[in-house]
């Protein structure tokens, strides 16, 4: 059975492109575009990996990750690839501090995403 990834991102065309390349690579891809109920969506779908944008409507990706890591169960150890529009050192440091498995700044290339995802979860 193919591994699953949940893309939490509010930009539909980024979702579409990421979905395309990951699907071609054998991943089962679903998406969620709102920050407010993202934690519930992640817990309900229990994916093998989450790609999480930092700037989401309703709630920031940092807050979402904090709640995931603080809670019990799968979310605490779930591999999370964070996407941000700012590659500043302090953003990277903050992402690492609150438990991001990996950090990537926009714009990134498809190959980078693919490499990161496969490095985090063996397909």
């Amino acid at each position: 059975m193919s591994k699953s990834v949940l893309v939490v991102e509010d930009e539909p065309n980024i979702i579409e492109a990421i979905s395309f390349i990951l699907s071609r690579d054998g991943w089962h891809v679903s998406s969620h575009s709102n920050g407010e109920d993202a934690v519930e969506a992640i817990r309900a779908r229990a994916p093998d990996l989450v790609i999480l944008d930092v700037m989401l409507p309703g709630r920031s990706g940092y807050d979402i990750l904090r709640e995931l890591r603080a809670g019990e169960g799968a979310g605490a150890n779930l591999p999370v690839l964070m996407l941000t529009a700012r590659g500043q050192t302090k953003d990277r440091a903050l992402a690492e501090e609150i438990g991001a498995s990996r950090f990537m700044s926009k714009p990134f290339s498809n190959a980078e995403v693919l490499e990161a995802v496969n490095a985090l979860v063996a397909p």
């Binding site: 930009e11 065309n13 980024i14 579409e16 492109a17 990421i18 395309f20 390349i21 071609r24 700037m55 529009a85 700012r86 926009k106 714009p107 990134f108 290339s109 498809n110 190959a111």
Partner: protein, 446 residues
Amino acid sequence: MAERGRGGSLTGTRIRERRNLVGMRQAELARRAGISASYLNLIEHNRRRIGGKLLLSLAEALGVEPSALSEGAEAALLAQLRQAAADRPEAGADLERIEEFVGRFPGWAQLVAQQGQRLGALQQAVEALTDRLTHDPHLAASLHEVLSTVTAIHASAEILVAEKELEPEWRDRFNRNIREDSARLAEGARRLVEELDEGETSEAAIASPQDQVEGFLSDHGFHFPALEGGAEDGAVEALLSTAGERLGSGAARLMARRVLDRYAREAAALPVSAVIEALPEGVVLDPAALGARFGVDAGRMMRRLATLPADRLAEKGQAPLGLVACDASGTLTFRKPLDRFPLPRFGAACPLWPLFQALSRPMMPIAGKIRLAGRSEGVFVTHAIAQPVGAPVANRDPTFEAHMLIQPGRAEDPVDLPRVGVTCRICPKADCRGRREPSIMAESGG
């Protein structure tokens, strides 16, 4: 040698001018002061700094008050130069010869001081811009949108290039996405440029709102005839509309409006003629007593006195007045400097100022004389008071603000006065209990 053109305001130049005026030879003055003629020559050419006993001897021999020789309008220029030297200690500026520099090369000294000020303003501008990129949520959102759109275009374009055998419906889809995203990118980039532009990039606007307001007030000499004697409706608006770039930011305009509204109210309650009439002739003013005569508190009286024009004050033999105010945190919220009492523009003031003593003794007027540590050791009379902001509210602790009125002293009692500075970095006072950071100035022995 090039001497100071504007009335010779350096100590050495003043000594020489006074000596020539009374027709005394250099050798004679030197003898009376107990120094060699060649040493006096160095002093007169501002190549030796003097103070203390020697200054008193020379003043006595010349029949003038020591302050007439020592207190010059150059204090502000010297303070600016010292600040410039403090900002670049690695340049190794020779502070011992700062007066000689000002005396011999007045134009160059002005230039260095102005460059130093400009550098400070530009540094502040850079900090403001950096701060904006980091903390402005609108700007951050716009940047994020542009970068996200670029990412979407990039990802779609990569798929189109990499996937040689892409199905036509996918190809059409990604082509359409790129077209949509390109339009959004164009719009997002335009908005970003607008936000960055927005008239906020001019230097005046980047100066802090307080700096802008003080620059505006200073342009008007802190006095507004249009607001005197019952200002007409719209007078404040009219003044603000003429400020243009001076008040380049919305925050500065808002703060200026508050200051001017208050000015108009206080001008109506305390008309210029009545206040001038009430001033004592040629002796130190007591704002608390004056305020009591008009039924207003001391802080309000101080603010009003600081707005009086120099020519009207001169009618009663009074010199222009300086004013400084701070909030309960000690942050300076208002600065009207005097030529010989410069106020710090960046960084905090001397904690020994009576202004700050007043904060620890609310509602008690604190009057006294101080000497400003430094070259001129000028004497000033200060009146300070801390008062609650706004009307009292039941069961709520008041918040205090303090005002300090600064009058030039008359140097009749120049010994044993508390010595205060302007700000630590350029203050020469040794063993100071209030010192926050080391000074670049060595205590002058002269």
